[in-house]
Amino acid sequence: MVQERILPQFSSTQVKLSRKEGLTLYEDMVLGRYFEDKCAEMYYRGKMFGFVHLYNGQEAVSSGVIKAMRADDYVCSTYRDHVHALSAGVPAREVMAELFGKATGCSKGRGGSMHLFSAEHNLLGGFAFVAEGIPVATGAAFQSKYRREVLGDASADQVTACFFGDGASNNGQFFECLNMATLWKLPILFVVENNKWAIGMAHDRATSDIEIYRKGPAFGMPGVEVDGMDVLAVWATAQDAIARARAGEGPTLIEALTYRFRGHSLADPDELRSKDEKDHWFAQDPIKRFQTYLIEQNLANQDELKAIDQKIQMRVEEAVKFAEESPDPDPSELYRYVFVDESKS
């Protein structure tokens, strides 16, 4: 049997969840799951190319954090960014079209899977190199503080959620930004999605202290460990951190213990992870767990959840159709967006 970290206990009685909130979380997780499954299908059918990193298994983290935020808050992601984009409100059709390289994609076909952006939804990216998004997110959080304190904009209380993996937590930018975020009390959540593996490098082979959340207090911020397969636990943890950040009380480091159900990318043979380990985590499927919870709590019944599943399936199908029917970018616009001047002309 695999030795796993003991997931922190979370009592759902701590949370007051309305039916509407519950269904929002459920729908968002299902969207993430179906969208990624469809991506795998489209990749193998030769509709999308390059490196495609799927999020299956980690849905509770994206939905739990982002759905606890406001629409005008900022989200910063990694190369495994499709589902963060969806949770942030980027329409599935625009994400799918981007993966197809189409002009209607959220990055106009210039970015691809690892470079999803949406200014409209305050999605800062889509950062393909490990840890490089952390300083950018820190800059967005600095901007909120600057706007409030220097420009005197009292409404500038936006919070930034910065997502990255266990691999990034051994990179200097992680430590440098934890330091600066506390130093300037920035409104930011550092959300580590610890899925145990940085491609083929097991977390415990890469780090001196596997409990990443404990690195928070070393930099003067709370570090919280959360069951990343329990959307309710993530949602409640995020709410606390967001409230602190919005109140000007500074950053929080959240370590969500989670697992990716697929390989690192669709090109990964996934040979190092044991069947035992995978089975252990498959049994924690966050969507199934939340289904059970919603039904037990009488927040929804089986038929209602099925109806949501079907609605989302149709939305994903529609996204594929939209992507397929969308035009490629105009070849005469190859240089567009390199400089602001050119994009205007």
């Binding site: 910063c76 949406s118 490089e132 220097v150 420009l151 440098e176």
Partner: protein, 327 residues
């Protein structure tokens, strides 16, 4: 017209732009309380406060990345590289993020930021503090690269760089900060994409930038005394290069010598020669010559250091040799 030192001209540019636009801020090592290692931001901390003149920890990649995030969300950061060489530690943030992100984001985000500071070979500062990063960065799409060389152009160019909606790498030279010049009292900006004809002539076009402009001007004195009449052009904009001004000069002189402080291999001159051959080959009466730094880490020893970079006498010799060619 007040007489102003170059570092003060830069400070005035930043001060004026900060006064006129509250989203402009300065970030970097010792830019605040200390006033900047070359005093370019002296007094601004007192005037604008600790958030607008932000003293950062010594974490180049992270504070540069922070500036990227701030620029994407509507601020206009000016990053000071205490020494431009330190920004090698931020190469990823400058290249992948500042340079490329506006494009990869399909125009979702713009990057109004300036990355400035002292570069070039100083006086026995050793290899790491004697870098010419312009050559390393010229291949990065999405960056504008500017090198100032006088108090007048330093101020006008920096103001334009701050106002530009694109990321601008702005090179100052460690040995030019104390240059003095009378500059206009009124507000002025200079275009970022125009070379400056420093001395009109007809014999040969001398293309140069940054501190080498002054070496060329020293050589010009000797050459003028000896009856030569070269045209001296300060490139100012290293990317994009101003081929309109360069081309007009070549059509007149038909000869080109490049004088640069970056290393020979893969330098600004290398790109210039390739582009001049592509665009103006038929105008040339002689192969383009480049005088560059040696392809070595800048040595500490003063004599070896002076052998590493181009000296005025070499420029004189190169002009004479080119003019002696029978064409």
């Amino acid at each position: 017209m007040a007489e102003v030192l170059l570092f003060n001209a830069l400070r005035d540019a930043i001060d004026e732009e900060m006064a006129h636009d509250a989203t402009v801020l300065v970030m970097g090592e010792d830019v605040g309380q200390y006033g900047g290692s070359y005093k370019v931001t002296k007094g601004l901390y007192e005037k604008y406060g600790n958030l607008r003149v932000l003293d950062t920890p010594i974490a180049e990649n992270s504070f540069t990345g922070m500036a990227v995030g701030a620029a994407m969300t509507g601020l206009k950061p000016i990053i000071e590289g205490m020494n431009m060489g330190f920004l090698l530690l931020a190469f990823n943030q400058i290249a992948n993020n500042a340079g490329m992100l506006p494009y990869t984001s399909g125009g979702n985000f713009t990057m109004p930021m300036v990355i400035r500071g002292p570069g070039g070979v100083g006086r026995q500062l050793g290899a790491e503090h004697s870098q010419r990063l312009e050559a390393y960065f010229q291949a990065v799409p999405g960056l504008k690269i500017v090198a100032c060389s006088t108090p007048y152009n330093a101020k006008g160019l920096l103001k334009s760089a701050i106002r530009d909606p694109n990321p601008v790498l702005f090179f100052e030279h460690v040995l030019l900060y104390n240059l003095k010049e009378h500059i206009p009292d009124e507000d002025y900006c200079l275009p970022l994409n125009r070379a400056e004809v420093v001395h009109p002539g007809k014999d040969v076009t001398l293309l140069t930038y940054s501190r080498m402009r002054h070496h060329v001007l020293q050589a010009l004195k000797t050459l003028t005394q000896e009856g030569f009449n070269p045209e001296v052009i300060d490139l100012i904009s290293l990317k994009p290069l101003d081929f309109e001004t360069i081309g007009a000069s070549i059509r007149k002189t038909h000869r080109v010598i490049i004088v640069e402080e970056c290393m020979r291999t893969g330098g600004i001159g290398a790109e210039l020669i390739a582009s001049i051959n592509e665009r103006f080959f038929d105008e040339l009466d002689a192969p383009v010559v480049r005088l560059s730094s040696q392809d070595i880490p800048t040595p500490y020893n003063g004599m070896l250091e002076s052998l590493t970079i181009v000296q005025p006498q070499q420029i004189v010799t190169a002009v004479k040799e080119m003019m002696a060619l029978q064409v």
